[in-house]
């Protein structure tokens, strides 16, 4: 129940935010953020059972949609990471993510995802590969590693940006920006926590969903806050901080 609400709720939030941004995206304002929201929307859509079934059947019913989902997430996180690094002035993090190490981790995660997928018996559409894992012990292990590889890159990117977010939280920038940085930092921490999913005892599986969707929601909320702050700032120019101008 809570899982369904979280999934559809997050999808609705993403869709609403993306929809609200259409006018500004058409004016050419900050299109990357709009595209990131679209990618996140597709990713959420592909993690929900019903739409997954439809799309995967269209792609041949061998769970190719799950691989698409992994790469959509990679792309969304990569571009989101770049925007956050640029916005928060984290030139070091930007160079790290686009440098040898950053691209290396992206390639490695992708290669492992594809390799493990090819090793599985993937017939029969199933969101989250639940039915695939249930086929055999070998498949169960492969799905677990496959999932881990898929979570590795997002966690890596967001962890690399965590210092910049914390820096922004502790800065003296406008409150709404610092609030947004808090939200993004929580989202990033949640995403990093997802690396520990194999440690969650069976029977508490819904925690996986809670952590995942908390992460996405917090990241999107961060974007919304900054956007709202920008709109507000445009309407009423900010008074000088500190009031030290004579």
């Amino acid at each position: 129940m809570i899982v369904t609400v979280l999934q559809w709720g997050t999808l609705a939030v993403c869709a609403l935010v993306a929809l609200a941004r259409i006018p500004s995206a058409r004016r050419g304002e900050n299109r990357p953020v709009f595209y990131i929201l679209l990618l996140l929307m597709v990713a959420i859509l592909l993690s929900i059972e019903e739409p997954y079934q439809v799309i995967d059947r269209f792609l041949g019913g061998i769970n190719l949609a799950n691989v698409v989902l992994r790469f959509v997430v990679f792309a969304a996180v990569f571009f989101l990471g770049l925007q956050i690094a640029k916005g928060f002035g984290a030139e070091d993090a930007r160079r790290f993510l686009t440098g040898k190490v950053g691209i290396g981790v992206a390639v490695l995660s992708s290669a492992v995802v594809i390799g493990l997928f090819l090793m599985m018996d993937t017939a029969g559409s199933s969101a989250g590969l639940v039915d695939v894992a249930a086929k055999s012990a070998r498949n169960r292990a492969l799905v677990e590693y496959y999932g881990a590889a898929g979570r590795l890159y997002p966690a890596f990117v967001l962890l690399a940006l965590l210092p910049a977010m914390v820096r922004t939280v502790r800065s003296r920038l406008p409150l709404i920006i610092r609030g947004s940085a808090v939200s993004m930092a929580v989202g990033s921490a949640a995403t990093a926590l997802s690396l520990g999913f194999p440690l969650i005892p069976p029977g508490f599986g819904c925690w996986r969903f809670v952590i995942n969707y908390t992460g996405i929601l917090c990241l999107v909320l961060g974007l919304v806050l900054i956007w709202a702050g920008r709109l507000a700032a445009r309407r009423l120019p900010r008074p000088p901080a500190g009031g030290a101008v004579p």
Partner: protein, 239 residues
């Protein structure tokens, strides 16, 4: 602590026994709900008493001095120090004085009234023997960074202003002038006292002081510009 509501009502009754609360609020320009809320919470802001005193044609310092935490406020045996007086001159007035003395612009115009844009920090610096912040935080329990933050925002809670005066051993009203709660005249500062203090500065002292003020101003402005640039960058990339 702001003023206790009971003592405040006692004071109000003594200064305006026949006036209704509604009338008091109207002539003092305070919202009725604001006063009501302060009374319900049991703590009345000093600024409320100041507004009411002024509206009744009374000196707010007399009113404040009747409260326990402001006892001694009326004590005229300790006039403001020269440094305190100079600290309450706006930076632009100091610069104008520098130019006038070096033979430039017009003779000294009248000083703009206290407080000015950095008057609180300048006042604390003027009475600080190097350890006063420490003593204030020991006496009141306020964390030093919170005290600092108030100075940066050019604010200081009235009870802290008085505590700071006490810790520095100067007249108690100085901080209330620097924060703009009361005027120089209400504090009992002689008219023209700031002007006289300014004239008493040697050329060298004046130039150094003006230089210090300019440097501090430059630092603040640069920080603001930097923050503005950071904010713009965030709007641009993530907004």
């Amino acid at each position: 602590m702001p003023l206790p509501a009971k003592a405040f009502q006692h004071w109000l009754h003594s200064v305006a026994p026949a006036t209704s609360t509604a009338d008091i609020c109207r002539i003092a320009g305070i919202k009725r709900t604001t006063l009501a809320q302060q009374l319900v919470r049991g703590k009345v802001a000093e600024a409320t008493l100041v507004s009411i005193s002024r509206a009744l044609g009374l000196n707010p310092v007399d009113g404040l001095a009747g409260f326990e935490s402001y006892a001694g406020l009326r004590d005229t045996s300790r006039p403001p120090t020269q440094a305190e007086l100079v600290s309450q001159i706006a930076t632009t007035d100091l610069l104008r004085a520098v130019i006038a003395r070096t033979g430039g612009g017009e003779a000294t115009a009248t000083l703009s009234p206290a407080p000015h844009a950095t008057s609180v920090r300048n006042w604390v610096d003027a009475i600080d023997d190097g350890d006063v912040r420490h003593r204030v935080s020991a006496a009141t329990g306020i964390a030093r960074q919170n005290f600092s933050a108030q100075l940066t925002a050019n604010r200081l809670a009235p009870e802290l202003a008085v505590a700071t005066s006490r810790a520095a051993g100067v007249g108690l009203a100085g901080g209330l002038v620097a924060t703009g709660l009361i005027t120089e005249a209400e504090a009992g500062w002689a008219p023209g006292a700031r002007q006289a203090a300014l004239e008493a500065l040697s050329d060298g002292e004046l130039a150094t002081l003006a230089g210090d003020r300019l440097q501090a101003l430059g630092k603040t402005l640069r920080r603001q510009e930097q923050e503005q640039a950071q904010t713009e960058k965030i709007w641009e990339n993530l907004g």
